[in-house]
Symmetry: C2
Subunit: 310 residues, 2 copies
């Protein structure tokens, strides 16, 4: 058996992603002991029942003080306060990371509260589901998925080693790891994740508010495309609230472009400019081919499921 990468892992916040990290780390044998803290009594009880950790503690300082790796897996805007609460308890030489979907704000918060002698390496596994809570996690969640780490520039060779070690940790859990500038991460994710979620939340809200079309009609005939949006719009409300607030600048920038493009499309429809529509609709097919070619999606094996249509 190979030695663990981090003898002691602390997971702070144990929902879908936190519990998946605990499960995957144990399954991969990359840690010896796992301590979990969650601010919710109910979640802590559930984590105990599920046996996800060696210790489930009521005080985050108890989880953090011996940990070689601390993973904050709370909603993005809570990470600062969570880190501040244990700022004096980190073990010297520990690596401090997270799994949040926003990296500049989180990197800022972690850097502010982390003392000298620990290594702050924010991270983001691009994996998950619309389900929330410790029951929703699973050990294979990160397999074949990208995890992006956003370490700030440093000349310290010990820091470089810490980045390598954290990369090994994620790789052992099945992820592919990329390093990226935190601001660039936030812009990329604003396009590939944050805007899609915002749009999905918005369209489901618009549909729910219509007077002429009943909610039951919307649900009944959802196979025409809407259904896919409802899945995305079922994602955790608190986490997504935090994502939009913490990545405001990039989200508003991308949203502005999206809205401009949508106005142009709206105008093309109003004026019957079919060639413009056709040109766009043909162009977007190429992107789809890229997604399939890049192995980011397996073609559907079962024709009867998950189809949508006009």
């Amino acid at each position: 058996m190979r030695p663990s990468i981090y003898p002691r892992l602390a997971v702070i916040g144990c929902g879908l992603i936190g519990s998946s990290v605990a499960r995957a780390a144990r399954a991969a044998g990359v840690v010896d002991r796992i301590a979990v803290f969650d601010a919710s009594d109910a979640v802590r009880d559930r984590v105990r029942d599920l046996g996800l950790a060696d210790e489930v503690v009521d005080d985050p300082a108890l989880a953090v003080r011996d940990a070689d790796l601390v993973i904050f897996a709370t909603p993005p805007l809570s990470i600062g306060a969570a880190a501040a609460a244990v700022a004096g308890d980190f073990k010297p030489g520990a690596t401090i990371s997270d799994v949040g979907s926003v990296k500049a704000a989180v990197g800022e918060a972690l850097a502010r509260f982390a003392p000298e002698g620990v290594f702050v390496i924010p991270g983001h596994p691009i994996a998950g589901s619309e389900n929330s809570g410790p029951d929703a996690g699973y050990a294979t969640l990160f397999q074949g998925r990208w995890t992006i780490l956003t370490p700030r520039p440093s000349d310290d060779p010990a820091f470089a080693l810490a980045v390598t070690r954290l990369t090994e940790f994620w790789t052992a859990m099945g992820a592919q790891v990329d390093l990226m500038d935190e601001r660039h991460h936030d812009l990329v994710l604003a396009v590939t994740s944050h805007l899609p979620h915002l749009i999905a939340y918005n369209i489901v809200g618009t549909a729910a508010d219509l007077e002429e079309v009943t909610r039951s009609e919307v649900i009944k005939y959802s196979a025409g495309g809407f259904r896919d949006f409802t899945r995305i719009a079922a994602s955790d409300p608190i986490m997504w609230r935090d994502v939009f607030l913490a990545n405001k600048e990039a989200v508003l920038e991308i949203l502005g472009r999206f809205t401009e493009d949508l106005q142009a499309l709206s105008r093309a429809i109003r004026w019957g400019e079919g060639d413009k529509l056709e040109e766009l609709f043909t162009r977007t097919r190429e992107i789809r081919r890229g997604v399939i070619d890049a192995g980011q999606e397996t073609p559907e094996p079962d024709f009867g499921r998950q189809r949508q249509a006009p």
Copy 2:
């Protein structure tokens, strides 16, 4: 063996949906003979190779003249011209239908060109996929899906019988059938299908045009939600061009509401109004529960696939 519902079926236009009708009708034993016409030489050849029809004809009049049921399965804006071309060839007593995603414009076109003595009953199976062409169809496409028929009001008992017969045809192929006013259909589908497709095409276009984020980054990190949009935005360009043009009024109405709501959401993000975001994101979860409760989506059996995340 039960007798067929329509001895002779003509399918005009044999792409994803037309070829699925041919396959499903044969599999269900609801027709004795199938004649197919498609305007494309390549499609006709392919339909012959696939053995989807008893006859594949080069002249639509040959398909239509003996048919008890004629299904137009061309893109919506072609249906009028396709019907006009064979207006003199319909068999008296035949039922004339279609599978288009827009019903008022198609109902208008079919009613204009259909002679006395045939029954015009527009239809729309809410089933399909992002794939196109005769190879993409399959016999089980309509199973467990809704098909909406939009017959115009009539006092003719023979017409009522024709509607019952067409309902039996779709039911035998596994669909559930609803009758609906054509304008209401177009509004409902504008919400549950047309707007979702428009939004998906738009966001994929916006992402493709960014300068700061490369196309390969968009593809690589698409698991965060964007991937689902790329699937929808891979749907047939010509058909969707026609849908938006033929259902302009309802699409622009729903798009106007969507845009209003999106502006409000944008403003809430800009001003940090987290409570407004949280309220919407919580409310949209209810709709998702409705979709699952209504059996419109099977919960994912395999956790490793088709997931998206922050």
